[in-house]
């Protein structure tokens, strides 16, 4: 496949010099391959978009500082602090609840979170997680049915809607899932070191619906 996400060891290298072991590497490299997988007939029921280069940081409020944190975020960044179980996103940027007094800040690129730690100095601990999570967008007409096979929470719209987030487990792996829109599409974040296990589950869960995998941004 020409746009394989990773270059397998046996694939020929175009340049004469070997790639540095320190070169940035996708969390999904070695596991996910772009292209059509599973049921080959008809439209793909599930689209999996490997999200790369995304800026992520945990924001943990200092004891008793939640109100100040909310104020500073609004005044300086125009962000609002999500209530329990909510994700406040404008486009691809914003905050996602991730536990009592904790949020995940997200931006399209790592540079998008530049200055966050300084802005929140004294009211919250900010820790870069951009390389710590593997992120995938699950969309398409069968997205809900595919995800439902792995999570023990109710994804029906009466229980889980756009703007909501759940922290739960998929195939025994801790996962954070937030719904992006009512299409529905979801973003799924797992610890980077679990990307392989999660991909094995996800690709199998999506196979019966036909699954289109691509990367974002395209490279």
């Amino acid at each position: 496949m020409s746009d394989a996400v990773t270059t397998s060891a046996s694939a020929p290298r175009s340049a004469g010099t070997p790639r540095s072991a320190w070169a940035p590497r996708s969390a999904w490299a070695g596991f996910a391959q772009a292209g059509r997988h599973g049921r080959p007939q008809g439209e793909a029921g599930v689209h999996l978009t490997l999200r790369e280069g995304v800026g992520l940081a945990t924001v943990i409020a200092a004891d008793g500082q939640e109100a100040s944190l909310g104020r500073i975020l609004t005044d300086r960044l125009g962000w609002s602090l999500p209530e329990i179980g909510a994700a406040h996103l404008v486009g691809e940027q914003g905050l996602i609840w991730s536990g009592p007094g904790q949020w995940l800040a997200i931006a399209e690129t790592r540079a998008g979170l530049h200055g966050l730690a300084q802005a929140l100095h004294g009211v919250a601990a900010v820790t870069d997680q951009s390389d710590a999570r593997a992120l995938v967008r699950v969309s398409g007409p069968d997205a809900r049915r595919a995800l439902s096979k792995g999570v023990a929470i109710d994804l029906h719209p009466r229980a889980f809607r756009a703007g909501q987030v759940a922290i739960t487990a998929i195939a025994h792996v801790g996962a954070q899932i937030w719904q992006r829109d009512e299409a529905p599409s979801y973003d799924l974040a797992v610890a980077r070191s679990f990307a392989g296990s999660v991909w094995t589950w996800l690709s199998h869960a999506c196979a019966e619906f036909g699954c289109a995998v691509n990367r974002e941004p395209e490279r």
């Binding site: 536990g99 023990a152 922290i167």
Partner: protein
């Protein structure tokens, strides 16, 4: 059995791990009597009925919870964040 986490809502009990009785409080510091320490570490009531116990929502929001569960039926009456319970206990002592 499901536990209604005050942060995450109703979740399967596989997401939680059990610690035990929420009643014992650790004796204060190095000055604690050996006997008091022994009681704190080893002695537990074995109730048939309402039991306040600590659960950890490890596969969810990672909060410690105090769950009031009937040991005979597994019916759960109340779930509170352990942080709030500890805070109330501290201010109760201070008052």
């Amino acid at each position: 059995m499901r536990i209604r986490c005050p942060y995450c809502g109703e979740r399967d009990n596989g997401e939680f791990s059990y610690l035990g009785d929420a009643a014992p409080t650790r004796p204060d510091g190095m000055g604690a009597e050996a006997a008091a320490m022994h009681d704190y570490v080893y002695l537990r009531e074995n109730r048939a009925g309402a039991h306040r116990e600590l659960w950890y929502h490890g596969s969810g929001c990672r909060a410690w919870l105090v769950v009031t569960r009937d040991t005979r039926t597994h019916a759960i009456d109340d779930v509170s964040p352990a942080r709030d319970v500890a805070r109330t206990r501290r201010t109760g002592e201070a008052a």
